[in-house]
């Protein structure tokens, strides 16, 4: 019971999480009994070589993919039991997802891309949405790009727009799958500054990255190896799980 009370304090709580994929050569276990908790306001990076299960782990937390076993609780919500539609609604309100290739809708302007999640979730009134979207673009430093199409923006600008979109419904949790993977060093560093600012405002941030230097700027680093947590430590402290 004590653990439950303790876990309620956690924003992310993964219990014995297992994910298998069926391939031509049989079933492959990508995640092996992962147990992990992340508290509110943490800034966590997940590292590991290709194929270690980083993206799969992120997909489990965001409900983009479903676990083969175990439980995924995010903000107290058992994600693994939700239907596709309930997942979409929940995700729209509770998680902001940022992708390596930005994934902005090419036929919508930057402002419209940011309004889109608000339209889907109906969290803000119709009049508030453009104002809020504009405010978010100011927040990520690209208000002047609001009425341009994504293809006219630089990579860094597009990723800022993607972050603004992730923040649209004011979710407590931001999840990024290699959000700086497609950016140059300088821009990637700028992006991290944005994340640090958001963390300071109380958002929980979880990112997958290959970049050791950047991961050192997060509070906590989780190393995955062959689908298991090889190391989980706070920067400055050594630790092993």
């Amino acid at each position: 019971m004590a653990t439950n009370a303790q876990n309620e304090m956690q924003l992310i709580d993964l219990r014995n999480l297992v994910k298998n994929y069926r391939t031509g050569g049989g079933e492959v276990r990508v995640l092996k009994e992962i147990n992990l908790t992340i508290g509110p306001g943490e800034f966590v990076s997940v590292m590991g070589p290709s194929g270690s299960g980083k993206s799969t782990l992120i997909n489990m937390i965001t409900g983009i993919d479903r676990p083969s076993g175990g439980e995924v609780l995010v903000g107290g919500q058992a994600v693994h039991v939700l239907s596709e539609d309930a997942l979409a609604r929940w995700r729209g309100r509770s998680i902001g997802v940022i992708f390596q290739f930005f994934q902005l809708i090419p036929t919508l302007t930057i402002l419209e891309n940011v309004i889109l999640p608000m339209d889907f979730c109906g969290k803000y009134s119709g009049r508030e949405r453009p104002q809020r979207a504009m405010h978010l673009l100011e927040r990520v430093g690209i208000p002047e790009q609001a009425h341009k199409l994504p293809s006219t923006l630089s990579g860094g600008q597009q990723q800022r727009a993607a972050i603004a979109r992730a923040l649209a419904n004011d979710p407590p949790l931001l999840v990024g799958d290699e959000p700086t993977g497609n950016l140059d060093r300088h821009t990637a560093a700028e992006m991290f500054a944005v994340f640090e600012g958001l963390r300071a405002e109380g958002k929980t941030i979880l990112i997958v990255t290959h970049d050791g230097e950047l991961s050192r700027r997060t509070r906590r680093v989780i190393h995955l190896l062959d689908g298991a947590i090889a190391k989980d430590h706070e920067n400055g402290k050594a630790g092993l799980q």
Partner: protein, 794 residues
């Protein structure tokens, strides 16, 4: 406008090719349907209103000589709206500057200023006076005559020069092109007498207040009886529903074809929409993933893409509604002009607009439902993970069989790899290929069927005309001795053989007392020119007395069998006959019956005399037919026999061919539509393929494929699809044609479907050309994709 609508709208405006294809695909189907409704409404409306306005007679009763007081008395009968007697006669005429004599009808009426029934609409000049003529509008057009022209008229032995003083339209006049180039003139009774020597009123046009077929028949019979009792020679009657037109069966046939084709086109459109949306969704699958990531539910995604389909529908309406009104207007004007009707409808048909809107909005959404649901169901992870080189080959049984065959068969080892790529690419997106094939195949089925039906119409005409074992039939105004008729006919150069026949109207009196109108043909029992097909029973034997051959259709409808006894009422005299056989004969609404001439002669008390002669010529040659008719007329006139009815098989063939050509032209228009829809489908598929394989094309170019090679791979794929669709279309067009011919049989005449081999090969040629054209453009676009551009995709 919400963000999502904005996105959909921009998707449409940014991908103009795809949008154009989708919108055109939808528009073709909606157009076809709107066109049919518009045309049907405009044609039937015009025919009906013109027929009503011209007070077309409900009853046309033939009797002579009709007196004015008899007309007055009929006019006063309850239920009769009006009545008028006219003089109906036939004459020969020729232009002053030509030597060729032509046939014409001459209608004499007493008062042109105060017409009562079957009104003439004067379009030019003045009403005819003494020794002048008026011509029917179509006669003017067909022969290129002008008001003020003079013509020679021959009637009996006299030839007179007469001036044409005016032009009038008559809805009841059958245009020359439908009636063996027979003209139509109008004159006063005095002029008719001056031209013909006699002018008895012989046709009574009666307009009833209300239309009720059985009551109309009863009224007609009553008048006929009264006139007969008054001592007039009666010669039957015709009943016509108000608004009926002589070309009604052709018009009905046309609409059956058009409706069928309209529905098929709409189905094809739906296929194309499914294909386009499948492509759109496969290109936007990652966007669907993003929608889901940022909170869009399944229902929301479905609504977004159904909205796109709806937009396609709305855009297609903008094309289809005006175009179908315009197209129908032109087509109607043309078709009406060929059947002597002035278009009276404007072209705006509210029902058609409503149907088009409903269909244009509902069909795309319904067609999009499957692909959209499929696309929206894709899981978030699959959707987001969807990039890189496309797969799609190698997983299914078909693909594995193909690969195995390729490894084993020597044939495949010699196929160059680009051709192999065409071959395999064809089957990558199996659902898309199936839909494209379905569209092309249906287009092909439509085309081959249409060609087959057109051939069937020709064949049927052959069958109908070959039933007549003679080339010329000539009926005279009075009976003559049989030997004399035959002897005169045989003396004419070119005549191979001649026989005396007889043709007269009669009623078959059924055991129930019901009377069925029939046309009675009588011929020698050993006739050499009787070639009708006997379906059951036997032909006449020399010893047959009162034997009758009945049309199989009549027999089936009335429950008559071989061996049954039946009563014939001929000119009011009843006699009993035995059915010895049933005949297949498509002429004259399948109402003809056949009896031996001697038996008929005895039954009506006119032994050894008849008024009809038939002759056979060495071949069916229109020129020979014409000169022989002229010679026959001359010879018989010299003997005091005035021909009142002449039928030349070549002439009948020409007339019928003209009517069938109307149908065939419409059919061909529809076949062209089928080809357009088919190639739209192919072009759509090929351009989707190019877009989808952008990276792959870049890759091929990176490893050395030159532009012609890249283009050839796509054109090869298009050709292969065209060829497969042809293989499928050929067998399918047989049941299709049988169904189609069946539907036409209902409206026109019994039609047996004939498969058109040239039609099938013509489609192979057309589909090959279309395939090249439809895939060439996307292929050229493929060759413009640069390596850097395509590999840097995303």
């Amino acid at each position: 406008m919400s963000i999502v609508w904005r996105k959909s709208w921009r998707d449409l405006s940014q991908n103009k090719t795809r949008t154009a294809l989708a919108v055109l695909s939808t528009a073709v189907g909606v157009f076809a349907l709107g066109f049919v409704i518009n045309m049907s409404s405009m044609m039937n409306g015009s025919i009906r209103s013109q027929s009503l306005a011209s007070k077309a007679p409900t009853i046309r009763l033939f009797a002579a000589p009709i007196l004015e007081e008899q007309v007055e008395s009929i006019r006063g009968t309850a239920g009769v709206a009006d009545a008028e007697a006219v003089i109906n006669s036939f004459l020969r005429w020729r232009r002053v500057d030509e030597t060729e004599w032509r046939e014409a009808s001459l209608v004499g009426r007493k008062d042109f200023e105060n017409q009562r029934v079957s009104l003439l609409d004067k379009t030019e000049g003045v009403w005819p006076g003494y020794k002048t003529l008026m011509m029917e509008y179509e006669t003017m057009v067909y022969f290129g005559l002008k008001t003020g022209d003079q013509i020679f008229i021959e009637h009996g032995n006299a030839t007179r020069r007469v001036e044409i003083v005016g032009v009038a339209r008559s809805t009841q006049a059958i245009p020359p092109q439908y009636q063996g180039a027979q003209g139509a003139f109008f004159a006063t009774p005095e002029t008719v007498e001056w031209l013909a020597g006699a002018a008895d009123y012989n046709q009574l046009n009666i307009l009833l207040e209300r239309w009720d077929p059985s009551a109309a028949e009863e009224t007609a019979r009553m008048f006929e009886k009264h006139l007969k009792e008054a001592g007039l020679q009666t010669n039957g009657f015709y009943l016509e529903k108000p608004g009926f037109h002589f070309s009604q069966s052709i018009v009905d046939g046309v609409f059956i074809i058009l409706t069928g084709m309209g529905i098929i086109s709409l189905g094809l459109s739906a296929f194309l929409i499914v294909n386009t949306l499948n492509a759109l969704l496969s290109q936007q699958i990652w966007q669907i993933g993003i929608f889901k990531v940022v909170g869009a539910t399944f229902g929301r995604v479905v609504r977004i893409y159904l909205g796109v389909a709806l937009l396609y529908g709305i855009l297609s309406l903008l094309i289809a509604i005006p175009l179908s009104a315009l197209g129908a207007r032109f087509m109607t004007a043309w078709m009406l002009s060929t059947i002597n009707v002035i278009p009276s409808e404007t072209g705006f048909v509210p029902a058609s607009v409503i149907v088009q809107i409903a269909v244009g909005l509902v069909v795309p959404v319904l067609a999009a439902l499957m692909p959209v649901i499929g696309g929206a169901r894709v899981s978030c992870r699959q959707a987001i993970g969807n990039y890189g080189l496309g797969g799609g080959f190698g997983n299914s049984i078909v693909d594995r069989l193909f690969l195995a065959a390729q490894q084993r068969l020597a044939l495949f080892r010699t196929v160059p790899s680009p051709a192999l790529l065409s071959l395999r690419n064809t089957f990558r997106r199996k659902a898309r290929v199936l839909l494209t094939l379905a569209t092309l195949t249906l287009g092909g089925v439509m085309f081959i069927t249409v060609m087959g039906v057109s051939l069937s119409l020709d064949r049927m005409l052959d069958v109908v005309l070959n039933d007549f074992g003679f080339n010329i039939m000539m009926a005279f105004d009075r009976p003559e001795r049989i030997e004399k008729l035959v002897q005169i006919a045989k003396s004419i150069p070119g005549v191979v053989q001649a026989e005396a026949w007889d043709i007269r109207g009669a009623q078959l009196v059924l055991p129930s007392g019901e009377e069925v109108e029939t046309q009675l043909w009588a011929m020698p029992p050993d006739s050499k020119m009787f070639e009708f097909t006997i379906a059951q029973g036997r032909a006449f034997l020399p010893e047959d007395d009162r034997a009758i051959l009945v049309n199989r259709k009549v027999a089936e409808e009335r429950g008559l069998r071989v061996g049954d006894s039946i009563t014939l009422s001929i000119d009011g005299r009843e006699s009993d006959w035995t059915i010895v056989g049933l005949i297949i004969n498509l002429n004259n609404g399948q109402k003809d019956s056949f009896v031996p001439l001697p038996a008929l002669a005895r039954a009506i008390g006119s032994v050894n005399r008849t008024g009809v002669v038939v002759v056979e010529l060495p071949s069916e040659d229109p020129a020979l037919e014409k000169t022989t008719i002229d010679l026959m007329r001359e010879k018989f006139l010299a003997e005091g026999l005035n021909p009142v009815n002449i039928m030349g098989i070549g002439m009948v063939r020409e007339t019928n061919q003209y009517q069938f050509n109307l149908l065939v032209n419409i059919l061909l228009t529809m076949a062209v539509l089928a080809a357009v829809v088919g190639s739209l489908g192919l072009a759509g598929t090929m351009s989707i393929n190019v877009v989808e394989r952008g990276r792959e094309i870049g890759m091929m170019r990176a490893i050395g494929a030159a532009s012609p090679m890249v283009a050839a791979i796509f054109v090869g794929e298009g050709l292969l699809l065209g060829f497969i669709s042809w293989i499928l279309a050929v067998p399918l067009s047989i049941p299709g044609g049988i169904l189609f011919a069946g539907a036409l049989s209902e409206a026109l005449m019994p039609l047996e479907f004939v498969f058109s081999v040239p039609g099938a090969f013509a489609w192979l040629a057309i589909v090959s050309v279309l395939a090249v054209i439809a895939s060439l453009w996307p292929a050229l676009r493929a060759t413009r994709i640069s390596v850097r551009e395509s590999l840097a995709y995303e």
